[in-house]
Symmetry: C2
Subunit: 271 residues, 2 copies
């Protein structure tokens, strides 16, 4: 029988789910049935959550687990009335921090998830617009780019750029290495002088062929041979030019993003 887990939050539930997921993956082999309950921000909603938790218990016969980021102690108390195993994400850290800092925390609901910051929001939106305007080599000017991703067609450049923009507010451009570019013995003209901002994206030939086949089945473009040649040429280019390379085959967008930040020496935070 699956063990039911609820990620309960007075806001979006993203923090509860992020940490909850990290904790649960340390118990491999246990079958979890996870549910997110966002915006549990008043007593009525907390009571409704309790009803749901109890009904999961009755249905499965197993005590549910609640991973809770509600800051308001009243809400946590109501949730505790469900009898579930309560894991309060913030509680263990408040005491030690209050002691260290010599101040009491503020118990404002929603505070934990940050007040809306218009400047940061705009930076993300601006960066996203930049990424769209500089996708696939569209706009030839890279003077404002924080980074330029290069790689063969369908190697994962666009989603990575959009992620860097939406999350970090970074101006991420990308340039597709065409077969013509790959026959040259040097960096394409537009990329020269940009080496510090260049990142190469690679992928396995088999995976690339699969992705390309969805776009143009049975084409030379999608053949494993063509993919293999393009990728080998691109890898040569990256090596020759000393460009950092990231492989999107077995790496999540988050990991690629963090690696790019680390290489750029940026400790910029999630916006």
């Amino acid at each position: 029988m699956q063990r039911t887990v609820f990620f309960v939050s007075d806001s979006t539930g993203i923090t509860a789910e992020t940490i909850g997921h990290s904790i649960l993956t340390q118990f491999e082999g246990v079958d979890f049935d996870t549910h997110r309950m966002p915006f549990v921000n008043d007593a009525d909603k907390a009571h409704a959550a309790v009803t749901r938790i109890k009904s999961a218990w009755a249905r499965t016969g197993l005590r549910p687990i609640v991973i809770n980021t509600a800051v308001d102690a009243t809400l946590s108390e109501i949730l505790g009335g469900s009898g579930a195993l309560m894991l309060d994400v913030f509680a263990p850290f408040i005491g030690p921090l209050e002691h260290e800092l010599g101040v009491r925390r503020h118990k404002l609901v929603n505070r934990a998830h940050g007040l809306f910051d218009a400047a940061k929001y705009e930076a993300r939106i601006d960066a996203t617009n930049y990424a769209l305007a500089h996708d696939d080599g569209l706009d030839p000017s890279y003077k404002d780019a924080d980074l330029i991703l290069i790689g063969v067609s369908r190697s994962g450049k666009t989603p990575t750029c959009l992620y860097m923009a939406l999350h970090f507010g970074l101006r991420a451009a990308n340039y597709p290495l065409t077969p013509e570019d790959l026959e040259l013995a040097e960096l394409p003209k537009r990329l020269q002088g940009q080496r510090q901002r260049l990142f190469g994206l690679t992928i396995t030939a088999e995976r690339l062929a699969q992705i390309r086949a969805e776009r143009r089945p049975d084409s030379r473009y999608a053949s494993v041979e063509q993919c293999r040649w393009e990728l080998a040429q691109a890898d040569n280019l990256f090596r020759r030019e000393g460009i950092a390379v990231l492989n999107s085959t077995h790496t999540s967008i988050e990991e690629i993003g963090s690696k790019i930040l680390a290489q750029l020496g940026i400790e910029r935070h999630l916006l």
Copy 2:
């Protein structure tokens, strides 16, 4: 003097930073200087981290705070040698969970951050491509859309759609309400029959005028009067048709995203 905080992780550091940020915002008024240290995944890197932590202490005269998601106890021990206030994000929850589940957790490094899941990755990439192909009303078919965002030009549709795609793997399309659409007494033809999947995006007229002025300064398009008229017409349309409305002026992309999921009755998790 600022209190230095390090978010230390054996992987991307996103979990450490997410929870760390949530905890720190509960101590409003304290001036924190935060740094992310990702990929601290061996003893050498942990010792290098300790050097950095100690030098921050020497520089500021204040004991640094370390928010740590390293799963490997050996690494946590090395980090603890810095003398900083150590807040181990996972530790408080492992004991209660082991007791509840009757199994020991696996102490594999990197496990906490999830193994790479190719199927989920593909769903995100596919959804991102879908969002790009269905941006700004480009592709007229909405038959595969999970949701369709509608709103006047520059109300924030595109970044929201990209976020829904990248995070939740949802096929998010968007349709711009033109002044011509807004003069009609009914939903634009292409949107009829889609009501369950429609979400209206709104924004204040002042903010919209500001955003539009960046694109076309001193235009009728960017005038507050024109913005006010379009927004009022759009709000009328949303009300008349019973379409859920989200305001992007004071709401983060994350909150808008979570609200859309809740309205759609989707408990889909972060991918």
